[in-house]
């Protein structure tokens, strides 16, 4: 009795094993097939572009070097036709003042274009620093994800751009950007943001904000080129992106980023 049961059991196990192997093979095949089909996308999202002949741009901002002169923000407005009113910025500078009592004072009057005045008395200051902000040119950008018509897109070089002739002005992208880098252009009536001066990049010129920075606090470069200044900097410094928990694939790396900054 017990023999026959076990024989039957074996038979059962064998057949179920066959079934299992069959389905496992199918599943594995399907997975491999799927990942092969999806591989290009996976590569792209892993911060490496498809087209190896093109650069994959990243940015470094060295907080220790920023002196808060605001020339970058001014140059950006001039270069990119951004309205001068203090509500529209492709880049701006924030001044953080951590007081002795632990509270943090953050200001950015006119985006820092006119420079800063420290209003906290010296004796109350624990530390103070400037943080330039601009588009993070995320490789998994939420703004690109939510655009209903695909007017926002990631260029092959990893620059997040907007097709102004295509944007319907729904403002969903402005809501989706966790860094506050987007705004509605009051004249063009479409979304607007930093293009990393794409028009200049194409001519091998540095973005306006970086061109004018007197201390070299801002850097851009090809993340794929392991010999580039940018990659070298990233290797030698401990850098951090903003809001890493949001997994936006930000490619703007800050050196000496303080935990107060968001």
């Amino acid at each position: 009795m017990s023999q026959s049961t076990s024989a039957m059991g074996n038979e059962k196990i064998k057949s179920s094993r066959r079934k299992f192997l069959k389905s496992a093979a199918t599943l594995a095949g399907a997975t491999i097939g799927y990942s092969w089909l999806k591989s290009s996308q996976v590569l792209l999202f892993a911060a490496e572009p498809k087209d190896e002949s093109l650069p994959w741009y990243g940015i470094v901002i060295d907080i220790q070097k920023c002196i808060g002169c605001g020339i970058c923000a001014k140059a950006c407005k001039n270069e990119n036709d951004v309205p001068i009113e203090p509500f529209f910025f492709r880049t701006w500078i924030e001044q953080y003042t951590v007081k002795n009592d632990g509270s943090v004072n953050i200001v950015s009057p006119n985006g820092g274009i006119d420079g800063f005045k420290q209003t906290v008395p010296d004796e109350d200051i624990f530390k103070s620093f400037f943080v330039p902000k601009m588009c993070n040119h995320c490789s998994k950008s939420p703004c690109e994800q939510v655009c209903p018509v695909g007017a926002t897109y990631l260029s092959p070089e990893g620059v997040v751009l907007i097709d102004e002739k295509y944007c319907i002005g729904c403002r969903y992208c402005v809501q989706a950007c966790p860094y506050g880098c987007r705004f509605m252009h009051p004249v063009k009536k479409v979304a607007n943001k930093c293009t990393l001066c794409y028009h200049r990049l194409k001519k091998n010129l540095a973005p306006a904000c970086m061109e004018v920075c007197p201390t070299g606090a801002r850097m851009y470069g090809n993340l794929r080129d392991k010999e580039s200044e940018l990659v070298k900097f990233l290797k030698e410094h401990t850098t951090q992106v903003l809001r890493p928990n949001l997994n936006t694939g930000a490619k703007l790396y800050y050196n000496a980023l303080s935990s107060e900054v968001r």
Binding site: E85, F87, F88, F89, I106, V146, P148, C167, A176, G180
Partner: protein, 398 residues
Amino acid sequence: MEPHYQHLYEILANAQGYIFPNEIDLQWGILIVVYPFITGLVAGAFILASLERVFKVKILKPTYQIALLTALSFLLVATMPLISHLSQPQRAYEIMITPNSSSAMAIFGFVYLWYLMVVLLLEIWFDYRHSMVVWSNEKKGVIKWVYKVLTLGVSDISPRTVKWDRKLGYIITVIGIPSAFILHGYVGFIFGSIKANPWWSTPLMPIIFLFSAMVSGISLVMLVYMVISHIRKKVIDVNVLDAIGKYLFFVLILDFTLEGLDQIQRIYEAEESFEIIKLLVSGKLYLTLFVAQGLVGTIIPLITLAFLQFYKHKIKLRKTMYFIVSILVLIGVYSMRWNVVIGGQLFSKSFSGFTSFKVGLIGLDGTLMAAFWLILPIGILAFLLWLLPPWKMVEEEE
């Protein structure tokens, strides 16, 4: 200086704490408050209609067509606040032609069309076809031809065909229930999927939107039923009100529980955004959240409805109470939309400060425009009730 900038300078002067410089101006104004409110009414009204149809709740029969026509009236207008808030409304069609598959918003056009064309219009058509054929034979002049066109030339009213009308209508209702869930759950997802905004980003958002939609839709149908009966000088059947009131009571409990759960979760987890959200709800949203949405729109209706579950005396008093409850619930759900849409934009994504919002009276994004989009469906409903009076429909034996 342009008036727009003048307005922004005023807001800038009143900003509290630190906000990113691009955040002074709210991107979504009152029209985007109206939009989920309207779609919610559509979904809720339809679900109430489906209750009667699919679950054979006979007592709700007098409200069946009213609910369907209410849903249609509001659905016809649902896209208007959306399109009129676009900065480039002339490009709105792009959303249908070249939708970005990763965008939650891009699917709206398709969900909307599916719901309008496949669900609502078809269901109403199957429901009214028999009557429209009869009316087209009875009436004279232009209206005769209007009904003729509306029947789409299908004038067969043999019992077999009419039976098929009923059958197909039933199937569409069955498809319609998940469709209504998708329509409004999806609207919640538009907000709930924005990870940049902690006030919006919660997987509960679609479900909360859905239940608040049902609450508002049920209230609206109850209100419309009472108003129509009053205008037609017919007696309001208090049993119908009791039945609707019972559903409203249960759905409101669920809605309240879900929203409470969402808030408790936020408070207990107390993530990095907690401090700013605490300031938001206790400050700028205090009136609209705790008073309008919580007390007026939820607690008072809940207590009243609970009371009405066992208070079965004075009919006139009960009717008055139902009337007031339905209005309070609508105010509450409108406030909920406000709290989500406007509330979510008042605090900075730096979590360090607040901007402010003042609704203008005029302009495309002003109160008058929003009021217009809310009143227009009522006008459409009046027209539809005149064209397709539920009380003059051909009686069909079951």
